[in-house]
Subunit: 149 residues, 2 copies
């Protein structure tokens, strides 16, 4: 089965009547290939190495399109500029153990409860939710915390 981001996103765009230009295809490929989260400029540089015709405007226009279609996430980290990553299919959150350093993902029913609670108590309709939890996982003794580097 074909589940590459590039193919998937390309298909989604076509399905909505968008055209799959050479530029867009290169961009999808660049985004798919990179493990890190890239910013617009890096994406542009990488795409350009592959096809010199790709302009920064097109990078932004494509990112904006993918974002609207919910195919990528725009991350607002502590940097001035944005980073982008392919949207993972399921919503998951990170559980980081400060002792052993393990990062687990979880898909919590508790998060659903939070979502419900916000809707019920505040009339707030959640569209996206970012959660990072730090603590000690069940496998680590509650004794001494591992010295931080």
């Amino acid at each position: 089965m074909e589940t590459s981001f590039r193919a998937q996103a390309g298909e989604a765009l076509r399905a909505e009547g968008h055209r799959l230009t050479k530029q867009r295809d290169v961009l999808l490929d660049v985004i798919e290939r990179s493990d890190r989260h890239l910013d617009a400029d890096s994406i542009h540089r990488l795409a350009r190495a592959r096809d010199a015709r790709v302009s920064l405007s097109t990078v932004y226009r494509t990112l904006s399109l993918l974002k609207r279609r919910n195919l990528i996430d725009e991350l607002h980290l502590s940097e001035e500029h944005h980073h982008y990553e392919p949207k993972s299919t399921s919503q998951h959150f990170h559980l980081v153990c400060s002792d052993c350093g393990t990062v687990e993902e979880f898909i919590g029913g508790a998060v659903e409860a939070l979502r419900d609670s916000l809707r019920r108590n505040r009339g707030f309709e959640v569209t996206s939710l970012q959660l990072d939890v730090v603590g000690r996982c069940g496998r680590c003794p509650s004794g001494a915390t591992r010295p931080q580097r």
Copy 2:
């Protein structure tokens, strides 16, 4: 004891050899008084209403100073621009409306429930938790979410 943000921050700045100008004092007061998280422009507008001499540059310079001294937090939410809040000791979370841009804080029982659930179901002991929720607040009509401009 004097624990107002304004007094505290002012003191901290003096202690490091900075001067407490009229402009800075007004800015500290504005930041302290507002319950919402303000962006630079709002702070500027509010400060200006109090003292017309306050320039936007000074707002940015002061925010940058306070940030470096760890007296305020700079929030990178889903907006293009930054929001600022006095550094607080207690844990709270952010609710960002993607329509009107309002940022609310909440200290949810639902978050406590999440914490409990993690402990009970996974033996995971939470020490710190960062949560940012984006969605549509109760005051915004569920019509167009289009960030057109």
